[in-house]
Assembly symmetry: C2
Homo-oligomer: 204 residues x 2
C-alpha cells in the first residue's frame, strides 16, 4: 500500500479534512432526497446518503439523522406527521438536489428555493419529488437513538412505490441504473454507474 | 410514472421477489468485505453492503448485522475479539468477494475457500484482505440492538487506514474510483462508476 494512515494521523487532521477523508473511505452511498411536510404545511426536502435495508417483510427502510438541533426540519416533520418520502436522484436534477443541502430557514420550502416540483402523494402528507424516477412513501415505525454520539436511526415502513420506465426482472430486481439513479461519495461527489454483472447465489 | 406499487402489492409478492425488489429500490450501496478472526484462530471474511458514517471525530463507522444466528461468525468474532477490518472490493476480486457470501462452516476460512489472501494487521487480530486497495481496521465501540427486527448496528472506531495509489485532494477527499472500488445494488449486482462532478458547499 502506498499510504498508511495511523490513528494519530487521523487525530491530527483538521476537522473538515478529517470529515471529508472519513466520508470518502466509507465508499459509495445511495443519494436520495427525503421530503417531508410540517403540520403548518411547509414542505422540506433534503439530501440523505444513509438509506439502509432494515427488512423486507414488512418492508422497512432506515436512515441516519445527525444529532438533533432546532434546525433539523426533516426529523421534526417526521416526528410531527409520521410521513416521509425517499426519492432517487438522477443527473437531470443533480444540481438542484445538491442545492437542497443549503441551510434554508424553516419557513422556506426547499422545493421552491431549489426549483424542484412537489408531487402530491395519496398515501402521505409528505410530497414526492416529481422529477425523481423512483420514489416511495414511508410511515414512521421507530426512532432508535444512538447513544454514542446523539444520532437517530429513523425507520419507516414503505406504503407505496412509484417507478419510471425500466426493466424489472422476474425475480424482483429493478434496473435502477436505467432510471439514471446516481451514487455519491461523501456529500458532494457524484457518479454515474455501469453494470458489470449480476452474479448467481453463491454456493459452497 | 409507469408503475405504481401499493402496500398490498408488496404484501402479495413472494418473499424472495420482495426481498430482491426492496433491496433494489434502496439504491446503490457500498460493497465491502469485513474480515475477522475467532479466538480459536479461524479467519472469516464476508460481504457487507451496509457500511455507514457515524462520526469523524472520533472516526466511527457502523454496519448492520442481520438477526443473530449461531452461524453469524462475523458478529461472534467481533464480540470475542473486538477487532474487524473493512476492505473495499475492486473488479479483480469481484468473483471471489461474491463467493464469500456462501455458507461455509465455522471451521473453514473463507479466505482459503474463496482464494483471497490474508494480510496481517499490526493493529488488530483481524486480517486485512491483501487484494483490496483501500482498507481499515476498527475496534468495537458499541453494538446497538434494533428491537423492531432483531438486527444489530455494530459501531467501530478506525485504528489504521491503508490506501493504494490514488489522488487525495488537499481537503481530504480520496478518489476511491481510481482504486477500482465498486458499488452494488442488493447482494448480487455490481457496478463500476464514472465521476460526474464534485459540487461546492451549497449556500442559500
Amino acid at each position: 500500500m502506498s499510504i498508511v494512515i495511523s490513528k494519530a494521523d487521523i487525530e491530527n487532521m483538521n476537522s473538515r479534512f478529517r470529515a471529508t477523508f472519513i466520508n470518502s473511505i466509507e465508499g459509495f452511498k445511495s443519494f436520495n432526497l427525503v421530503a417531508t411536510r410540517s403540520k403548518a404545511g411547509i414542505s422540506n426536502v433534503a439530501p440523505f446518503n444513509s438509506i439502509m435495508h432494515i427488512g423486507s417483510n414488512p418492508p422497512l427502510i432506515g436512515m441516519l439523522i445527525r444529532p438533533e438541533t432546532d434546525e433539523h426540519q426533516t426529523l421534526n416533520n417526521i416526528r410531527e406527521t409520521k410521513g416521509f418520502t425517499i426519492n432517487h436522484v438522477n443527473e437531470n436534477i443533480l444540481q438542484k438536489a445538491h442545492q437542497t443541502s443549503a441551510k434554508y430557514d424553516s419557513n422556506t420550502s426547499e422545493f421552491e428555493a431549489c426549483g424542484l416540483t412537489e408531487q402530491i402523494s395519496d398515501h402521505s402528507i409528505a410530497p414526492y419529488v416529481k422529477e425523481s424516477n423512483l420514489k416511495y412513501t414511508l410511515t414512521l415505525k421507530e426512532i432508535v437513538p444512538i447513544a454514542l454520539n446523539g444520532m437517530n436511526l429513523v425507520i419507516g415502513e414503505i406504503q407505496e412505490v412509484l417507478i419510471g420506465e425500466c426493466n424489472i426482472e422476474d425475480d424482483g430486481y429493478v434496473h435502477i441504473d436505467e432510471l439514471g439513479t446516481l451514487t455519491c461519495v461523501g456529500v458532494d461527489s457524484y457518479f454515474k454507474v455501469n453494470n458489470i454483472t449480476r452474479l448467481p447465489y453463491a454456493k459452497k
